[in-house]
């Protein structure tokens, strides 16, 4: 779809279909990154996704390998990825709920 203008349609340029396609793409990518499958979206909750991200990108995994007291770069990397993915999926999930509610 190309850019829409208000020459004839002031106040109705929002596209709910386009919004839903984009945010569902975001959710699907994050689910895949965390080890989940978009095919299961109908039975997946935001709790499932956030918890799976926390599990997959668990901070402190390196410490458990005998490096007590020393944070390793991998811990920081996991922590940042975890926080990043959770932030984006929470936002996309909410946008998806709004778009579904307005469909």
């Amino acid at each position: 779809m190309t850019v829409r203008t208000t020459e004839d349609t002031v106040g109705s340029l929002y596209s709910n279909d386009a919004e839903l396609v984009f945010v569902e793409g975001e959710v699907a990518r994050i689910m895949f990154t965390a080890g989940l499958d978009w095919a299961d979206i109908d039975t997946t909750t935001i709790d499932d996704i956030v918890n799976k991200i926390r599990e997959t990108y668990e901070e402190g995994g390196s410490l458990a390998l005998g490096t007590e007291g020393h944070r390793q770069a991998a811990d920081d990397w996991n922590f940042v990825r975890q926080q990043h993915l959770i932030e984006v999926v929470r936002r996309a999930w909410r946008r998806r709920a709004m778009a579904i509610g307005r469909a």
Partner: protein
Amino acid sequence: MAQARYGDWTCVMAENHWLKALRVARDSSNTQWDGVFASSEAMNDWAVAVTADYAALNLDQRDIAIGGDFELIKMDLYKTAPENWENIVWGAGTIVLMISHLMDRTNPKMMIDYPFPIVSLLDMLEGPTPTREYTVLNGYNLYDWEEFGLTLPDVTNNYSDIRYAAMDMQDLLDGEGAGTFDMVRVGPQTLHSINNRVVDAILGLLNVGGILHYTNPSGYQSSYNGGTPHRHLYTSFNRHIAAQANFDVYHIPMEQGMIIAKRLS
């Protein structure tokens, strides 16, 4: 004390330091944009309409679902707006206008992700030849603005020829409008995706000399306060922008911070 965040600003539900500063700054500027949407009454009409719609959607507000993200808790400000909160909107709008004025271009082409029914924006959109050529990214903010902002009597009674455009996120990612925009104003709610794909698309919109105004690149000061930027999720996005060889990039750490980036080539 309850705290809410709005655009570039953080405010407490009373006239705190920042609200006072905005009131004084507005009083000392000659770009006050006095008008129907410079009043608390009009802003409250807008806030009530949007709040009612969100309530009707019955969205999941549990912590695991929304965390502390601004975009997901902004309704706190709408529900319990502080006195003179229109000054907050004035402040955010003034920065956008200031940059676009100082660029000194004729009818600059602008991209934003968060329109508000305020005088400083509406005046720029009024035809037949708007002084700014605005495009709004498709999303819930556009929906709110069209459904509950443009339909308010204060808007319809004062603006009869509003003109703007809308672009879908997927079209942005596909390169629509690349190299044609004079200014883009977006926040992390738009830029942050699973990787830097949206950042690159946004930067790609700008023509040579065009300016990115990226609000709140600190995560409400959390990246400043933490002191460990490598452990902050915003850092990789900010560093990706800073690494652009064809941009001058300024990260200004006032309040929530902002990044101003100008395309050089």
